[in-house]
Amino acid sequence: MKFALPIVVATVMAGAALAQDAGKSVWQGIYTTEQAARGAGVYAQRCGACHGAALNGTGEAPPLIGGEFISHWDTMTVGDLYDRVRTTMPQNDPQSLTREEYADVLAFLLKTNGFPAGGQALDKRSEVLATIGITAQKPANGG
């Protein structure tokens, strides 16, 4: 259960941070294009064999793009997604990337799924990412 602790910490932190921040969103430009470009390289090396070069999924590995993927994570946080990837992927060698690399891959996934880039890179700390909400629909106020 070595993965459980960070998640618990993240959840607690998330509650505190959200209270201060009134909720950050994936629609607010939470990664940089440079970071996503780095992530594309890592993805090709470590993820693409199963999830496909175009993130469409192959065999049993699900697509990481499109409505199914995003609605799967709707109302969760980027921290949830980050820790899911970090603790279980690549499936045959979880936690074998650095935290920075996992953040880069996540930036690539966000970019590919149409979430906007911004001026600040995605953090590598689960507890910070847990303050960023994933919503499938763009909020009416622009995020």
Partner: protein, 693 residues
């Protein structure tokens, strides 16, 4: 190999402490039929019985109170392995108030108190490299129970393909079985697997146990990009359940001189493999027959190395339970090249056809046909006609000119995709769908695969996933109605390309023009507790073919997933409903909102198994949704068996990933749903009605 066994607390003692249940063992040798005695009702095989029904006569939970169900207990499987599992497919057994199941990335076995979920004992085999190399890792579909009235055993196949017999009361290996309770299934196999660690074979299914006989199938790596056509052969074997002594072997690929060998032209039976039975085996204990739903030979989409129909590839075979001798067979697809391999447990049903009582076997399929045979003779109950099908143009392929098409019941699930299946919610979406589809081949069932080109990437199909996949169907033994889930839009594009040097000795494997051809992995492969780090490299970059979506909406029309009630007395579809909430990304799509919404679509998944009770058909959802009625989660739904009308639903914090089951202990009915998916790792969730009883 290291044994990890904990908490050898006597199951009986544990039950006495926590419930008033008095466990009783039946006199008859076998698996103990479901019954309700002293407030206890059992579920003693993977499918409730050896006939594959997934039926329980319990009715405490019914249309009037289903929505009142609440979570009674939860059992998380994270600790049963070196990492959590997100693909929990095991259906537990319930025997006299105790739950037995496999779980976790180690495929451990646990015994739980059926009333509380408390762990009574746990057993796991640490198999090292052999488990890491297995083509079928993770928790598997379940385990089996056997008793002779005195001894009580739990039997299962490990990730590394060993059959283990455990004392049901203590979880300790039975010293009288195999070698210290363990039988190496990679030996005594009528073929040499070479290195026992790396020799390719495994299995997910639960063994079938009847009387003194336990039957074991075989499964292999995903067949999209196999390393060799000369893979391991999927022979089916039976063993003495007390000792592990092999009783018989059925050669699913005939040896020279055996029946069917000549259906593999140019002696190609000698150089092809697979053809295993990876789904559940059903048994008619009165007729003394075991029913084997055999999968396809090696290479899912290219059969040029195996010209000819290739028995018993994609056949339903009835063998003598005692000897393994073939009684009858029917090949459902000749020379299978679509990955439409037999996926479902045979359903052994007693029905009345044209006024006459008939013992039949029905088989759901990925291709949406429900095949029905007299189960003593193998003669189709309604004509199954050899029908001319299209011949493909793949170099080196051999094509069967005809395929058997049932005249009854009607097709219950989409099995081909035509222009009329493309979405047409608006003229704009329809036009875009047609444009996208123009890059692919469309066609009816048995449209042959093509070589991938930049102009036509592949054939759009639901071959690999189906239709009906491993969860199979269910039925009501009292009415002769089968209830079968099917995915309507589990589509992908399949094209063929030559593999790069060193990947495979098969001339054409699955690939997409413009993309590097890489090894495609199968269910849980390389994901088990002992799996090693990956080698360097992987999929390349590049754009790839377009997604099979239009403005983010699925390319094909709903329904995305259905449950069909098939009346096997007369070969008709009694009702069919979309199962599952409309996915968020469809329901909330601006184009859908603009047309005022659409009826419930169901969900595109093949993971759904159904449970049948006295009055209900019960199934959960496999996708998370967030609706006005409930926060992010999934629903467990109940339908009236007669009409298909939804009569209740209860919230699940995670999604159904294995087939549900039901049992009773201390007068209370429970429903267990195996769940996992998204950020939720494997967990068994038990539901019951509020209150003490």
């Amino acid at each position: 190999m290291k044994i990890n066994s904990t908490l050898p607390l006597s199951v009986m003692a544990a039950l006495m402490l926590t419930t008033s249940v008095q466990a009783q063992t039946p006199a008859k040798e076998g698996t103990t039929a479901a019954r309700t005695t002293n407030g206890v009702a059992n579920w003693t095989t993977y499918n409730a019985d050896l006939k594959g029904s997934r039926y329980s006569p319990l009715d405490q939970v019914n249309a009037g109170n289903f929505s009142n169900l609440e979570i009674a207990w939860r059992f998380k499987t994270d600790i049963l392995g070196s990492r959590p599992e997100y693909k929990l497919e095991s259906t537990p057994l319930a025997v006299d108030g105790v739950i037995y199941t496999t779980g976790g990335t180690r495929r451990a076995v646990v015994a739980l108190n059926g009333a509380t979920g408390e762990l009574l004992w746990q057993f796991a085999l640490h198999e090292g490299k052999r488990s890491a190399e297995s083509p079928r890792a993770l928790s598997g579909r379940g385990l089996s129970y056997w008793t002779d009235g005195t001894k009580r055993r739990i039997l299962y196949v490990t990730i590394g393909y060993r059959l283990v017999s455990l004392d049901a009361d203590t979880g300790r290996p039975d010293p009288e079985f195999g070698v210290n309770g363990v039988l190496d299934l990679k030996t005594d196999f009528d073929q040499d697997l070479g290195d026992l660690d790396t020799g390719e074979v495994g299995v997910h299914s639960a063994p079938a146990v009847s009387g003194n006989t336990i039957i074991i199938g075989a499964a292999f790596r995903e067949g999209f990009t196999p390393r060799t056509h000369n893979n391991t052969k999927g022979y089916v074997r039976a063993f003495d359940v007390r000792t592990g002594k092999r009783l018989w072997t059925f050669h699913t690929v005939p040896k020279k001189g055996e029946f069917g060998y000549d259906t593999w032209y140019n002696n190609s039976a000698d150089i092809n493999g697979n053809t295993g039975v990876w789904t559940q085996v059903s048994v008619d204990e009165d007729l003394g027959l075991a029913y084997l739903a055999v999968e396809s030979p090696t290479s899912d989409f290219f059969g040029g190395k195996r010209p000819g129909p290739g028995l018993f590839g994609n056949s339903l075979v009835a063998v003598d339970l005692k000897t393994g001798q073939r009684r009858w067979h029917f090949q459902l697809i000749h020379h299978e090249i679509w990955d439409l391999d037999n996926s479902s447990a045979p359903l052994l049903m007693d029905v009345t056809v044209d006024g006459k009582p008939r013992k039949v076997v029905g088989l759901p399929s990925k291709q949406g046909f429900f095949y029905v045979f007299d189960r003593a003779t193998g003669v189709p109950v309604w004509p199954i006609k050899e029908t001319k099908v299209a011949k493909g143009k793949v170099p080196g392929e051999w094509y069967s000119p005809t395929q058997p098409i049932p005249s009854k019941p009607p097709v219950y699930s989409r099995n081909g995709y035509l222009e009329s299946d493309l979405i047409d919610f608006t003229p704009d979406l329809k036009a875009k769908a047609k444009e996208l589809a123009s890059h692919y081949e469309l066609g009816p069932v048995y449209t042959p695969p093509i070589v991938s080109t930049p102009e036509k990437f592949g054939v759009i199909n639901n071959w690999a996933q189906g239709g009906t996949n491993w969860p199979g169907g269910s039925f009501d033994p009292e009415t002769g109605i089968a209830y079968v889930y099917a995915c309507g839009t589990c589509i992908s594009s399949t094209g063929l390309l030559p593999p790069p040097p060193g990947l495979s000795d098969i001339p054409l494997v699955v690939g997409v023009a413009g993309q590097p051809v890489t090894m495609i992995k199968g269910p849980g492969e390389g994901a088990g507790a002992d799996s090693p780090p990956p080698s360097a490299g992987g999929g390349g970059g590049g754009g790839g073919p377009p997604r099979l979506a239009v403005d983010g909406l699925p390319l094909m029309k709903p329904p995305y997933g259905t449950i069909s009630a098939i009346d096997v007395n007369n070969g008709t579809i009694k009702w069919q409903i979309a199962h599952g909430e409309t996915p968020d990304f469809v329901r909330n799509h601006p184009a859908i909102k603009a047309i005022g919404g659409i009826p419930r679509t169901g969900q595109a998944t093949y993971q759904i198994g159904t449970l049948v009770t006295k009055t209900l058909v019960i199934a959960g959802e496999n996708q998370f949704t967030t609706t006005a009625d409930h926060p992010r989660g999934a629903m467990l739904r109940a339908y009236d068996k007669q009409s298909g009308k939804e009569v209740g639903a209860v919230f699940m914090p995670s999604t159904q990933s294995g087939s549900p089951m039901t049992y009773m202990v201390a007068g209370k009915q429970y429903i267990i749903v195996p769940t996992s998916g998204g950020n939720a790792s494997g967990e068994f969730i038990a539901y019951a009605l509020p209150g003490k009883k």
